[in-house]
């Protein structure tokens, strides 16, 4: 008998019908993994900027490749901001569940939509503040 191959892996993604509870749950996991990666990059970024002995190396380089990297970097920062807000809001929702509140189906659905809405709203606010500080 091969116990390792026969065991099922627990949260199945393909076989269930999507609804707001499963969506928020799986997004909590995905954003968690994304945030871990972002945290590693942030940490090594701080390390890099601390020990960077020759700053202002390629700020004046206006080539195509630098622009592509810059756009990708902005996209990564904005999406990790969304991940942070989403994981933060949904994490508070999970903590409320842990003390036994908000389990009713209606409340759970409402807070699910609320969490997604809040995360999007906070991301838009953050991006607007960044754009304002950068260009005005």
């Amino acid at each position: 008998m091969q116990p390792n191959k026969a065991k099922p892996t627990s949260p199945h993604l393909q076989i269930y019908r999507w609804n707001i509870s499963s969506l928020t749950s799986i997004m909590h996991r995905l954003t968690g993994v994304a945030l871990y990666v972002a945290l590693v990059f942030m940490a090594w970024g701080i390390f890099y900027y601390t020990y960077n002995t020759s700053p202002n190396n390629n700020i004046h380089c206006d080539c195509f490749f630098t622009k592509i990297v810059h756009i990708l970097f902005c996209g990564a920062v904005i999406s990790s901001a969304f991940c942070l807000y989403y994981h933060f809001c949904n994490g508070i929702r999970h903590l409320f569940w842990d003390i036994g509140k908000g389990f009713e189906l209606k409340t759970a659905k409402k807070t699910g939509y609320l969490v997604i809405f809040l995360a999007l709203l906070l991301t838009i606010i953050t991006v607007s503040i960044a754009v304002y500080l950068k260009f005005f």
């Binding site: 116990p3 390792n4 892996t9 627990s10 993994v33 701080i46 601390t50 994490g91």
Partner: protein
């Protein structure tokens, strides 16, 4: 007739859950503190990071944020790895890999923040 084999309890689920929750609660103020300074650091890291971490509270909260963040992250990733990977040897390997990355990275970032704090 083949019996269904159920994965045995590993007897440390409650402790894991509790530590996950405690680190989550600790991260709430740290994340709020981080968001307030998120934008300024992101726009000019080379210029703003030394100023930011020269304040004692910022350095303190920064180190706490990264330590709790990596702890919470490794606990969470451990659950995900245990859920989706069935091979026990692979589970141990990936959990150890995640723990290794967490520990080395948090030590590195603590050294960096302390250097920024002390030299500025």
């Amino acid at each position: 007739m083949q019996k269904t084999k159920i994965a045995p309890s590993t007897k440390h689920g409650f402790r894991h859950w509790l530590l996950q929750k405690i680190s989550a609660v600790a991260l709430i103020p740290l994340v709020i503190w981080l968001i307030l300074s998120f934008v300024n650091i992101g726009l000019d890291p080379q210029g703003y990071l030394p100023i930011f971490f020269s304040y004692p509270l910022n350095a303190f909260m920064g180190i706490l944020f990264f330590c709790f963040g990596f702890y919470h992250g490794s606990l969470g990733l451990q659950v995900i790895i245990e859920d989706y990977i069935t091979n026990k040897a692979k589970v141990h390997f990936y959990v150890m890999l995640v723990n290794f990355i967490s520990i080395t990275t948090s030590v590195a970032v603590c050294i960096a923040i302390l250097k920024l704090h002390i030299t500025n």
